[in-house]
Amino acid sequence: MIWLTWRQFRAAATMMAAALAVLAAILSLTGPGLADDYATGIAACTTQSGGCSNFVQRFFQDHQDPFLALTAVVLVLPALIGLFWGTPLITRELEAGTHRLVWNQSITRTRWLAVKLGLTGLAAMTAAGLGSLAVTWWSSPIDTTAANFPRMGPLLFPARGIVPIGYAAFAFALGVTVGMLVRRTLPAMAVTLVVFVAVQIAMPLLVRPHLLPPTRSTIEITTSNLDGINAPQGGGPVRAIVKAPTITGAWILSSHAVDASGHAVDTIPLSSSGACAPSQPQQGISACFAEIKRLGYRQQVTYQPSSRFWPFQWYETGIYTALALGLAGFCFWRIRQSLS
């Protein structure tokens, strides 16, 4: 049975292996240079007076395109595996009628399914794991400079580390299950894609924020989280508007300004003659921040800190693997039913 599984799977496996080899070759050729550039750049800028923010910004901008492309590859790979490995695994047999040939050899359907699911599923997880490993390694210097894409955030988190392995296992099992129910390859592919995308959207919206209770903190309003001060010409109320702060690597779930008694406010009302008013430019921005602080306004932030990256990776991989196992269990139950 292992031979037959391999014989049927080898073309797809060879193609995937070749694609991964090309990717790995390109990344391993360019990766060390990229890491060197980053290391020398950082070493140079720390001694300079201006600090590293310019270098970090420029470094990210220079490498933004390959960074985004590789991230997309890791995000899309599990879906491709589900569509092109998972779905046809059973439907191809059902459509050609060959299940009636193979299920009447001296091997039970359960064993047949176990070998096919096991081998192809492991290959799927390996492929996704290797792809993610290569991209995670290659883009690690860029990840640290990507201020807009924190590694806990919804773009980078699912494209780094070990979660792609879980996604691949789930997508593969989903494809097989849908194929078994729909029984035709093309409609089954469409259904698999829709369900997988829905799950991948639902995960960061509904589940991942709550894997661990988010960290809450109350921070003062400074340059990092002040969006601007709104003062209408010709007098009127002066208002400060806040924005989400930047916490390195963290995924900001919510942020809003609160007043002295802790109630959320949309904007911070300020005196039109105080330190923040445009009529008092000589006092400078630090006086303005001092006034905001004196009035008791602060910002409340809930977020998932960067230190939870690996626990979250394990949790999420576990969740997806459990889903995949559940679907596989369903397939075993289903194949024992009438399916001829």
Binding site: Q8, A96, G97, R100, N104, I107, Q337, S338
Partner: protein
Amino acid sequence: MTAVIEAQGLGKRYGQRWALSDCTLAIPAGRVVGLVGPNGAGKTTLLNLIVGLLTPTSGSIRVLGGRPAGSPAQLAKVGFVAQDTPTYAGLSIADHLKLGARLNPGWDAALARDRIERLGLDPASRAGKLSGGQRAQLALTLGIAKRPELLILDEPVAALDPLARREFLQGLMEAAAEHELSVVLSSHLVSDLERVCDYLIVLVDSRVRVAGEVEELLATHHRLTGARRDPTRLPADQHVVSASHTDRQTTLIIRTDAPIHDPAWTVSQLGLEDLVLAYMGKPADTGRNDRPILEVQR
């Protein structure tokens, strides 16, 4: 006499429709069984139940004493050539033989190789490139070389031209005789089965209409021709299978174990095809014969 297939009240339902109902059979070993019936009569359903591709909705079935497809040992004892003789289009003939060898502990590699050689097939050619007849032969080779005790074939010759049909059935019969196989093969054409089977099952509208040894069926069925009369007034041991009337004449096909003494009838022997056609019609109580004859020829 041991039964290779024993079915008791076997039925299979799809939604509201019974594809097979109340099927009770006991097929003795060592027979070549012909399963005839029009398309949609439930032949494939019955065969799929025998090989365990389907599970019964009602009743029970034992094949060679075991539950169909219940274990690898059970699977090894039953060979199956499915409808349209499916093979893996992308795999070569040699791959198929290797598949058979890997998946069947009782695989007879020499037999398979010889058979392919005798058929003049190139082991390197892909199954998808074979003609219908060649593909059927490949499927039959897989079925025979696993050395089953019972070989089931679902309409194996339906798609073949007359020459390929004859060659296929010839090969099947040789193998059956050589390896003392019990064989069940289905067809909607009696003429396909006439020359090869010695046991017959007629399946119509999901029910078994008649089953038995061909010789016995031929010996107990007669065609009676005579002046027009009511077929219900026959001796109790004569069962009317079909009746047809013209203005002046009545023709009956009856089943009876006893000799026919009524001098008013002209008694003649039935061929297998006539016998099957008589059963394929509706039950004989309508007294009319305007029904279409199903599937006489394709």
